[in-house]
Symmetry: C3
Subunit: 151 residues, 3 copies
């Protein structure tokens, strides 16, 4: 068992089944030493977590959903290349479905950022953006894309 | 004639004139084996396709507009490096101008994704994100950016 | 003093203190010859410039804020690697907090694009996207992320 799988086990984190793309693209693609991963939605018990921040959802619920996106990102990495080839998390791009007066996008996307630090330690420290969107696919409350470095 | 130009011809697809940037940037930039292409708007007969999904535009109209963005991306690739240097489509980033209750962003951006698969076959299978925006430049209904791999 | 610092001095441009991340991520990350920089907000006198385009803010005010984002991007580059290792600006990703009827995102993000050309000349000519968002972190009116090439 490689160190990342061991870490997940010790943290009692079970990754979900990697979601199939909801349309005509692929979940991950390695090129030039990097692994690009498609935007992932928050799935809980097989259903997308829907809603809008600043309206139907609070920041903690949003952060929990962003963590689910992060788990799905890691599941896609494992399915695409296996953790033995994962070096670090380079970048997260976070989109938050929200109202025009919502201002705490960073705390929401922290749900995914904190997960990367938790699982990958120093190698999980990435750059990112966190922005709002009026709506996201399937009514999801958050979507997170990523770039990882390979080894 | 290289294979991609041949494929376009057999599919009866004519690429548009590559649009000039509407502001102070460049349409494409090669670095480290990748070609980054600026966000492209949907042009039909020289005019931007405007409107919002969930409001003035239906999903099929949105997908047709996203296909126009894809054609413009390919036109920018050809103008920047020529298809003989194009290896594959790595990533699309899709923004859909939409209402807060719109949920079918994936079907809209499929207009661009399906075009890449159609023209580039297996090499056209990319990662992507598809998200909403309250509005886009010039009132466009969709904007798609891309990363291609060079050979 | 390297050429970029000299250029900033001759233009009478003083870079701000690089802002600390407002959450659990890092401001910049070098990988594979590129420097990825996190989305930067517009800071003036230590405070975020807030508001929405098409509503409380005009396009010139938005462009001035985007220029502040650009200054912060350059400050992050200098802090992360020093300008002696900076080769060029590859890409800007610009998000504009705006109303659904706003259409001049390009002029807003030009505030950042023009700065790169001003400071880096030909090496400052990048690809980009410019899109709308219903809201941005801390109520910011604009957020700009970037990729730079290293030497």
């Amino acid at each position: 068992m490689n160190p990342i799988d061991q870490r997940l086990k010790s943290l009692n984190i079970a990754l979900p089944e990697p979601a199939a793309p909801v349309a005509s693209y692929r979940p991950a693609r390695a090129v030039g030493g990097l692994l690009y991963v498609s935007g992932q939605l928050p799935f809980r018990d097989g259903a997308v977590v829907t809603g809008r921040l600043g309206d139907s959802l609070g920041t903690e619920e949003g952060a929990a959903a962003a963590r689910l996106c992060g788990l799905m990102l890691l599941a896609q990495v494992r399915a695409a290349i296996g953790f033995e080839h994962l070096a670090s998390c380079v970048k997260l791009g976070g989109f938050v479905a929200c109202t025009p007066d919502f201002t705490d996008h960073p705390s929401v996307i922290n749900g995914a950022s904190d997960l990367m630090a938790e699982v990958l330690d120093e190698a999980g420290r990435h750059v990112r953006f966190a922005v709002g969107a009026p709506s996201l696919p399937l009514g999801a409350c958050v979507e997170v894309e990523a770039i990882f470095a390979l080894q």
